[in-house]
């Protein structure tokens, strides 16, 4: 009995949950942005920046997933994971999975408001942008926790 399944499950949790968060966030931001663009297409650059901000959670999740696949040697074809390591991977993945899921959605909401604010007066753009990134710190903290565990797991017994 080894922990391959748990390692892959961990990679999946990290990628999928964080991905859902980002997809929801970017999706709602993009909807609003397109509404703005239909009125004034010259705002495309600013809208793009604000729309993409909730996209980082998905990236973080993907990176944790990828690192799990690399360090558990799933990618090189001869996986070598003990049960304990498998559980560790799965546990580590939960952090960015849920952190990314909820912060992605929340950041999406903030981005929607930022877009509405920028649409009114594009001088507000930088303030909106900074406010939207305030949410990101929590995704970031989750990511760091996941990351620090994942790179240490191969040293576990």
């Amino acid at each position: 009995m080894n922990g391959i399944f748990l390692a892959i499950l961990g990679a999946a949790i990290a990628t999928v949950l964080a991905g859902i968060g980002s997809a929801k966030g970017v999706g709602s931001a993009a909807q609003t942005a397109m509404g703005v663009l239909s009125e004034d297409s010259s705002m495309f650059g600013k809208m793009l920046v604000l729309t993409l901000l909730p996209g980082t959670q998905g990236l973080y999740g993907f990176i944790v997933g990828f690192l799990i696949l690399v360090s558990s040697n799933v990618l090189s074809g001869n996986p070598d994971v003990t049960m304990a390591q498998g559980f560790a991977y799965a546990g580590a993945a939960l952090a960015i999975g849920f952190g990314g899921l909820f912060s992605g959605i929340a950041q999406g909401k903030a981005a929607v408001s930022g877009i509405a604010m920028t649409a009114k007066d594009d001088k507000n753009f930088s303030k909106g942008m900074v406010s939207v990134t305030l949410v990101e710190i929590y995704a970031l903290l989750s990511f760091i926790v996941s990351l620090l565990v994942v790179i240490q797991v191969p040293n576990f017994g």
């Binding site: 980082t56 990176i63 990828f66 990134t133 760091i144 990351l147 620090l148 790179i151």
Partner: protein, 655 residues
């Protein structure tokens, strides 16, 4: 910043203002000498004429663009304004009348075109109505001749000629009739029935029983003729429209002239707007404004050259606008600063600090030598080829400096298009080497040494925050707020330094732990003693002092925020590595190599797009939220000189 007052004769007004506008030295404000023998001159109507012309040319350009789209490259938005000779301005001015006539003509043609389009819609509806009667060659309202009654109308069913004859004969065998079917379609037959005048009533009854009805609006016009005429008219209109379109297209060549003329009128409108703000007496007028200190001498020389006038300088008060002046290294970051806010009256200009940390952090987050070199080359080429305007040029410069920093950090992290050199080498030789094996210098792999890099990130964050607080310290000293400088800022700086030394002590030597702890405790005591100084009573002071220690949490969260340096740096590297892995997947045959090149290009393009954006945004956030919150007030106004505020052309500077 200085205030400036120029007094000159009214007859020199035009010349003087033109020179001031060309030089762009002075920001002119509204005069405040009303009633003391001075009054304003109203030039609004002239200004409106110019503004109307600007609008007219804008409209004409829009029409031209939709008729003959301008050939614009993908990168043309980087292009600077066209440079023209000062002499060319005279040519533009003299041609402006003709150009305005052309614009009027274009707008008129466009109106004709849309009128015709509306007319064509009407004609189409008319033809549709006539469609079922178009074969009829007598007027629709004919009722008969002396001996014959004629019924023109429709039946609500489809009949052929023979079938209808049968039907009518069956309905009323006594009826003598002759009929023609003009048109038949499902549920509709248009017909003409001829009967002897004597049988008119009988025929009408018979037809009614089949559901006969008269046309809705019988007229005396012959449908056949009318249809033909309408078709002819339609063709004439279409021809007219084509002619109008051709004529519009023929004006495409004057697009450049229209643009220059638009700028010419825009500049003149600005000038008249300024005249509105000046105070005039019978013979002289007064210009009040602001000027940067360094330009005072230039202005004096300029005025002396242009006309007899009197120039006075004074000290600007608190409401003076701010002009940022920085060296080549820091100037590109001014845009980032003004995006936040221009410095307020008590602020120092933080651009140099901002610039350094912006380049530094951007590089650390983007951290790839390959991408960095691409950035440097791309921005360099754009500056060279397009000769962009100052603002765009500064933006490009900003990314060029960021590119240099990115390259350096990429070399530190051992990342050149991710691990592309190693991956490609492995693909062809089947070896299994890493970037660390290739690069001759020791590298810091963010994947393996994540913890170390996180500590480095937070340490850099500490430096960043301390620099921010240092700025606050200087600001306080400048304002002679010594309590604010030493107690509010100094103690916290000491406290942070104390913790830093303590942290270093944990890693290196126990002596430092003691030193750090002593510094931190001492500054904590200092804070408790001083932070309640605004409160009343001993108890209030003590509580205020103790409560201030709670601020430590905000410093901790600020510091943790810098872990994004690690996170984004890692993201770039890992994403690049993923794309390299995908691209080298298909083996070393020809197909595999083609596949590799395609995936490599697409993948890295995606990675550059995503992560450059992320690095830019997060670098900005670190500056705005973590550093500026420590000292920067903002709220100033930018210096906006009276100048040639043009869109398409700019006047070459004298060399």
């Amino acid at each position: 910043m200085k205030t400036v007052r120029i007094i000159a004769l009214r007859e020199d007004r035009k010349r003087l203002l033109e020179h001031l506008q060309d030089s762009g030295l002075v920001q002119i404000r509204r005069g405040e000498n009303d009633g003391k023998g001075f009054k304003k001159v109203d030039k609004t109507s002239q200004m409106q004429v110019f503004e109307r012309n600007v609008q007219l040319t804008e409209q004409a350009l829009k029409i031209l663009d939709s008729a003959v789209p301008e050939k614009a490259g993908l990168l043309s938005s980087f292009k600077g304004r066209r440079e023209i000779d000062p002499d060319e301005l005279g040519v533009i001015a003299s041609k402006s009348g003709d150009v305005i006539a052309v614009c009027n003509r274009i707008v008129e043609l466009d109106k004709t075109r849309s009128d015709i389009a509306a007319e064509l819609v009407k004609i189409r509806a008319k033809l549709e109505m006539l469609e079922s009667w178009k074969e009829l060659d007598i007027p629709l309202n004919t009722t008969g001749t002396r001996s014959t009654a004629i019924f023109i109308g429709s039946l609500p069913e489809e009949y052929s000629l023979s079938k209808l004859k049968e039907k009518l004969a069956a309905e009323n065998p006594k009826l003598e009739f002759e009929l023609e079917v003009i048109h038949s379609e499902p549920n509709l037959t248009n017909l003409v029935v001829f009967v002897p005048a004597s049988q008119r009533v009988m025929a009408e009854d018979t037809l009614r029983s089949l559901g006969y009805s008269r046309p809705m609006s019988p007229t005396s016009k012959v449908p056949k003729v009318k249809t033909q005429k309408t078709i002819e008219k339609r063709e004439r209109l279409i021809k007219q429209r084509e002619d109008a379109e051709k004529e519009i297209e023929s004006y495409a060549a004057s697009r450049e002239d229209i643009k220059s003329t638009q700028d010419y009128f825009r500049v003149r409108a600005d000038k008249y707007n300024v005249i509105n703000n000046l105070d005039h007496s019978k013979h002289v007028f007064v210009i009040d404004g602001f000027i940067p200190e360094s330009d005072c001498e230039k202005l004096e020389k300029l005025c002396a050259r242009v006309c007899d006038c009197c120039v006075e300088f004074g000290d600007a008060g608190d409401d003076a606008p701010v002009k940022l002046k920085n060296n080549k290294f820091a100037e590109p970051a001014q845009g980032i600063l003004t995006m936040y806010a221009a410095p307020g009256r008590t602020d120092i200009d933080p651009t140099p600090v901002l610039a350094f940390f912006f380049y530094f952090f951007f590089g650390m987050m983007f951290s790839d030598a390959g991408y960095g070199i691409l950035m440097v080359i791309a921005t360099g080429l754009m500056i060279k080829l397009f000769k962009p305007d100052k603002k765009m040029r500064n933006n490009l410069k900003l990314f060029q400096y960021c590119g240099i920093s990115t390259t350096l950090w990429g070399l530190v992290f051992g990342s050149i298009f991710g691990d592309a050199p190693a991956a490609i080498y492995n693909m062809f030789t089947g070896a299994n080497i890493t970037m660390a094996d290739i690069l001759p210098w020791p590298t810091l792999d963010p994947q393996k040494d994540a913890l170390l890099l996180m500590i480095i990130s937070i340490a850099l964050g500490l430096v960043h925050i301390l620099v921010g607080m240092g700025c606050k310290f200087i600001v306080c000293i400048k304002q002679k707020d010594y309590a604010g400088a030493f107690f509010d800022t100094g103690f916290w700086m000491l406290m942070l330094i104390g913790f830093a030394v303590l942290g270093a002590g944990v890693a290196f030597s126990p002596v430092l732990i003691t030193v750090g702890a002593v510094i931190a405790c001492a500054s904590a005591v200092g804070l408790v003693l001083t932070q309640g100084r605004g409160k009343k009573g001993i108890v209030g002071k003590a509580i205020g002092g103790l409560a201030s220690l709670y601020d430590i949490t905000s410093y901790i969260s600020d510091l943790l925020s810098y872990s994004r340096l690690l996170a984004l740096g890692l993201t770039t590297g890992v994403m690049a590595q993923v794309f390299n892995m995908l691209s080298t997947m298909m083996g070393t045959n020809v197909l595999g190599i083609v596949f590799m090149i395609v995936i490599f290009l697409i993948g890295h393009a995606i990675n550059i797009g995503l992560n450059a954006l992320g690095s830019y945004v997060h670098t900005m956030r670190l500056q705005y939220v973590e550093m500026f919150s420590k000292f920067y007030e903002g709220g100033g106004k930018e210096f906006e000189p009276f100048s040639l505020n043009s869109k398409y052309i700019k006047i070459q500077e004298d060399k």
